[in-house]
Symmetry: C2
Subunit: 218 residues, 2 copies
């Protein structure tokens, strides 16, 4: 009788995950906290980043990687603030990946950056499947999008470390059930803080900036 052989299957890292680990190592060497910013198209990713840059001025130096299918309008807006920024165009790709971020990191002055926002492509589904090397995953939901989004896109709401509900200034004009939204979020994610903000009025931005600073202190 032959000796019993127990097959041992270890988790094999994908090529993307291996490069994400390299990105993470590079970020750590330069003491940069990387935040993966995910949301639907038009949820306010760039607006939130611009508000965060202003709110963190004098506290943390920010850098930005902008991901879009096409165009450079977002990178141009960030560059106007004097913040180091690199635009990635995926050319049809529906999410960023670690190789794209690796090539962007080479073009950023990492020694001068404390906090790096990586703005992912506008998409509530695919980006969670691709590690970039980030330390924090966050998403932006928004009032006009409707309170049922956690039910329809549970993967994203479950995967993130922080959730922003943007455009709360539009609450009076929209049938948005805030309690139903909060309950649906909590059913999927018991721990992520939920920040209710308006990138139009600035409401709620300071609490978010303080949370980011706390993550940086680790």
């Amino acid at each position: 009788m032959p000796p019993e052989i127990l097959p041992i299957v270890e988790k094999i890292l994908s090529a993307n995950d291996l490069l994400a680990l390299e990105n993470r190592k590079l970020l750590d060497e330069h003491d940069v906290l990387a935040v993966n910013v995910m949301a639907s198209p038009g949820a306010g990713k760039t607006s939130l980043i611009l508000h965060s840059i202003r709110a963190l001025q004098g506290r943390l130096q920010v850098g930005v990687i902008e991901g879009d299918v096409a165009g450079r309008v977002d990178a141009d807006k960030v560059a106007e603030t004097g913040t180091p920024v690199v635009q990635i165009n995926t050319g049809g790709g529906c999410h960023l990946d670690a190789p794209q971020v690796q090539s962007a990191l080479k073009q950023l002055p990492l020694d001068e950056i404390d906090l790096l926002f990586i703005e992912n492509v506008g998409n509530l589904i695919c980006p969670t499947g691709f590690a970039l090397g980030e330390h924090v995953n966050m998403m932006i939901s928004n009032v006009p999008e409707g309170h049922d989004k956690p039910i329809k896109y549970p993967g994203m709401f479950a995967a993130v470390d922080a959730i922003i509900l943007n455009k709360v200034d539009l609450m009076p004009y929209i049938d948005f059930d805030l309690e139903a939204f909060r309950t649906a979020v909590r059913a999927l994610n018991a721990t992520a803080p939920l920040f209710e903000v308006s990138c139009k009025t600035g409401e709620g931005i300071e609490a978010w900036a303080e949370w980011l600073q706390a993550q940086k202190r680790g």
Copy 2:
């Protein structure tokens, strides 16, 4: 010297495209016009379908296939109107495909349906890459999403036969440059009609319903 051989590469249909052709044939046999409804999460796909059902009452019998990553809230809303509806849950998939639609078609009373809305998963990128058997591709953009969406998601705006700009009732509360939006749309798509509507007030719905009816008369 050997005779010259000219390699001829014909377009090979993917498995998805082959099933899409089968779907199209089945729809044509039952004289059903199928409309692929694409948009970001929360753009108002289900709201537009509900408005269209009401507007077309007495003119066209509507059927609906609802596509979502998870949940059945949309199908429940449609079922309340007495309209035949099937919910597809992609379980993480970021777009519908022809096999999913084929299985849904088998559950619909096609002989009683004139117009079939296929509501795709909320995503401005991936759905255009997968034929379902539809006759008409359309998309819904919306005011809170911002006027720069054509620049950032050109593939979808270029691919569709009709474009709806929803939530025009929110125009007074949002910095939306309508002329910039129209110009960006026209640069990508010279022929698709652009309907400016509000699923809150009903503005613009009748023009859209008449256009649908004209497609049906074909």
